[in-house]
């Protein structure tokens, strides 16, 4: 079945460093991948989308890559700040119904001052 996997272990990094989060997909080839941020007690918020024919996309301190050979997307936050601490979710449209998303479990990021 179609699946998205993210690192389940929390990621702890020092302020100012680059955080790198991984999203792997199996058993399908999504047309694009989305990244969302979720703060405790709140709903996810859309951050970035990258299409399968795009190698990289940037938005301010965020960068997303898409490697169709490795079936993987990497999400980078450069010059990280404590305010970046949150859970980051990866999602992609299901094959056959691009309006329904498959969600990863998310990776919790803690940026320490």
């Amino acid at each position: 079945s179609q699946k998205i996997e993210q690192n389940s272990e929390a990621l702890n990094i020092q302020e100012g460093k680059t955080a790198t989060l991984t999203c792997n997909y199996t058993n399908y080839s999504p047309a694009y991948l989305q990244w969302y941020r979720q703060d405790p007690g709140r709903g996810p918020v859309f951050l970035l989308l990258i299409r399968e024919n795009e190698k990289e996309k940037r938005k301010e301190r965020l960068k997303v890559t898409f490697d169709t050979t490795l079936k993987q997307s990497l999400f980078h936050i450069t010059a990280s700040q404590p305010a970046d601490s949150a859970t980051y979710l990866c999602a992609s449209p299901r094959a056959g119904n691009n309006r329904k998303l498959i969600w990863g479990l998310g990776t919790s990021l803690a940026v320490n001052p």
Partner: protein, 117 residues
């Protein structure tokens, strides 16, 4: 724009009681979704709707019902609450056409935390 709003924020139900979780969006989005999120389980789709009068089941529809009489509202009904329905419920919406990102991002409400005892 208020975006997606949900009420109530919190609710405690007794087993067997019923309730309706309200969801409203003011962005004129055609697509609306109900998810539940449990610790370690991720977001699971309960029901979704592609427009007023049209709904369809998601991955975990048992024990829930929905209706979509207007573009703005998409209530979720629990008829006979069970402890397994203890969860955080999120409503989301998505536009008919791709957004500036080139895809169909979803906009989420703040969630309803439901406990069934």
């Amino acid at each position: 724009n208020a975006g997606v709003t949900q009420t109530p924020k919190f609710r405690i139900l007794k087993i067997g009681q019923s309730m309706t979780l309200q969801c409203t969006q003011d962005m004129n989005h055609n697509y609306m979704y109900w998810y539940r999120q449990d610790p370690g389980m991720g977001l699971k789709l309960i029901y979704y709707s592609v427009g007023a009068g049209i709904t369809d089941k998601g991955e975990v529809p048992n024990g829930y019902n929905v209706s979509r009489s207007t573009t703005e509202d998409f209530p979720l009904r629990l008829e006979l609450a069970a402890p397994s329905q203890t969860s955080v419920y999120f409503c989301a919406s998505s536009p008919q056409s791709p957004g500036t990102s080139g895809g169909y991002e979803q906009f989420f409400g703040p969630g309803t935390r439901l406990t069934v005892l």
